[in-house]
Amino acid sequence: MAKLDVELTVNGEKYNLKVGSQERLLDTIRKQLKLTGTKEGCSVGECGACTVILDDKAVNSCMVLTAQVDGSQIITVEGLESKGGLHPLQKAFIEKQAIQCGFCTPGMLMSALALIKENPQPSKEEIKTALEGNLCRCTGYQQIIEAVEAAAEEWGV
């Protein structure tokens, strides 16, 4: 089957890629771009481990075909840290002990990022709604909520 030409901007860098028509964005990110911070947990859009930012929205990258998002801007967990250091969300996750095994962490960070970009001062309920699609089996979520609140306080406008 002929491959399709796709242009993606991932973490600020432009890529011209050839993808199959059925290739999932998750596979493009993990296998082609070797950005393995984005995780695969269920492959059916239920666990949120594969969450990335697609044009400002948090999406499950296992449910998106790469060919559909030609020309898009994507942010993955690898795009959070900059030359200036860790992103406020990353710092807050560390500070608030919001991490245990760390497998859900990249997806959680991405959902939280999309939330705070859209709603810089979210309430606890709004945080819960934004993170509802991200399962975590270790933390019981409490310290994740605290981290998002702390990050919003430091970074939100």
């Binding site: 950005l35 911070g37 497998f103 399962l135 975590c136």
Partner: protein, 763 residues
Amino acid sequence: MTFKHVNKGIKRVDAYEKVTGKAKFGADMEFADMLFAKVLRSEYSHAEIKKIDVSEAKKMPGVKGVYTAFDIPNNLFGVIVQDQQVLAKDKVVLAGDGIVMAAAESEKEAAAALEKVKVKYEELDGIYDVMEARKEGSLKIHEDKEDNQVIHHPLRKGDVEKGFAEAYLILEREYTTQLIEHSYLEPEAVIVVPNDQNHLVSVYGSIQNPYAARSAVAAVLGVELADVRVIQNHIGGSFGGKDEVISAMAARAAVMALDLDRPVKMVNTREESFTESYKRHPYNLKYKIGATEDGKLTAMEIEAAADSGGYACQTPFVTWRSVVQATGPYELDNVKTDTYGYYTNNPYTGAMRGYGSPQVIFAQESLMDELAEELDMSPVELRKKNMYSQDSVTASGQKLDGHTVSLAEVMEKAMKEINYEEKYKEYSKEQFGDKKRGIGLSISFRGCSLGAEAIDAAASLIQINKDGSAAVYSGLAENGQGLKTIFTQITAEVLGIRIEDIDYMEVDTTFTPDSGSTVASRATLIGGNAVKNAAEKLRKRIINFAADKFDFSADNLALKDGFLYDESGNRLALFSDLTQEMGNTGILLSAYGWYKGPEISWDEEKGCGNPYFTYVYGCQIAEVEVDTGTGELTILEMAAAHDVGRAINPANVKGQIYGGVMMGLGYGIMEELEVEKGMIKTKNFHDYLIPTIKDMPEIKPIIVENPDPDGPFGAKSIGEPTLELGSAAIANAVAHASGRRIRSLPLNLERVLIGRSLHKGGK
């Protein structure tokens, strides 16, 4: 006692890697020339395999090898009973059994090849009910066994007949618990590299217990332990779950990698993970309890039957923990307990956070509330009258005198935090409307570490570099629980150096000493002592060197903050200058640490002895709202008080409490794996629901600290106690709110509304 690094909520040492995506998990690993493999699993839960035809599969594009049980050198393995098949040979005994495996240039090609495999089965009648399995003359699942019984643990104390004769009231109740999935977020992954760095095989992946995996791979291949190297990666949750299932996976990949002389990677999809992995044991529990009119317990008789599924796995040990905890933390002169495990054709069951305790606690703590109601006493009053205090003697005859028995303290603190007394009084009054509130509690004592299951020892290795930085190796494995951070804190505390100067190394079975499995909430207690032991040896060596050098008495020198101090607090030298000099003088700056737990005893025939050398105590309280019109159950608030001895890292302990409470909530009100004739129906998170962030109640964690004489800096355990109490507390709260006593888990919509499951014959 004041500490510099211990007893502080310092940041996790693995946090940076985990928030940046740099942490490599099993599925993230790549090796040159790597192949991918997939497994074909059974279409039946009990069947004879008549014929396997792989000829078409072998011809498929990209395929390098197709294998059956006949290609496996030793096809049976198991930590306790060697009855688990790497691939099913003549017979499948459960739906997760693999039959054929294929390695190919891509995952897709491996999967496509397996679709061409033709297996001819002859379906057999199966046993899917543990009570059927135990009947005399019932169909045998393993023909070489006498019957379906995996294990029977008896416990006898006093004379129950006499005890019941003395009782004013006798209650008999039956409870059941369900099959649940660990639901670690990371599906299982392994990569086996053949002929790697002087090893026959190197195994990488999401491995909870690297030494157990090494033993299994070596046994299956028929080679020495030294031929197999297991290197642990970051592991995306385990909760007891990534043990035998990973061993089987690693053994399969090893067979293929050796045959093809190329690395082989295997990553389960979520559906494969649900299908193949072992689960938590469902229990059928019969309780009989007697009490005097004023609420003093006179006797307890318990019969518990656990469903082991097709393999024994860890059933003998899981059920043994149930024996010790079955009566709960209550003084009783007369006890008769019989705990059994049986083979069925259901998914097999093994270790899961809590081991055999959540099941018996659900039953026994529900029973205490039922008894209190019958006696017209409050649940708290009945418990206070009977629960263990200092020097109490347990059902197995152990006197609790070596540590602080803090049941009264944990209970009082939890009650205060959630305002129990006031809410209990309020909700005990008549409530109008459909929505009714209630509050319920449960308490437990839990033996720390392995107890009489196995030898309880662990090792560590600390290497100090000339520049004063250090590397810590332990044979116990980070599963996400925070062990690297805890062990780093202990090292920093003893050596008086900074957390940043310590590197914590991943488990590598070739370099780190065998320390048994990272299970039973034993890592901080046993492993922490081993790390402390190594650090203390090194500190002594450094202090002695400094005492000679500065002509001081060693007793008057201290290491702190990266410096050597005298008794008046004067800085004498930099830690790094001392290590530099010692290194240059040829003094060894590495030390092994070792710790073996204190003596314990167990008489398996009579069920008596001192099964654990110390215990932890906990109390959880749930406040709920029940909509009696719809069956909707909302958990409003939970308080969880746990005595941890000493919290090495309080922020981490809180994380364990939050996580354990939520997992206990899932077990209590929503999770249940649907199985029909042994076939799993719910295979992903759209139909097997685990708690989301929206299911969270307000959780109040309470850390109670009574330092234990045998714990490192007094620390004990926290991982498992946090989830064993929730389901009983919730069931008691629901009964308090609605008047409906539910004796089967989970307390889902239908049970709360109509008192039983909607399934045919459902409990």
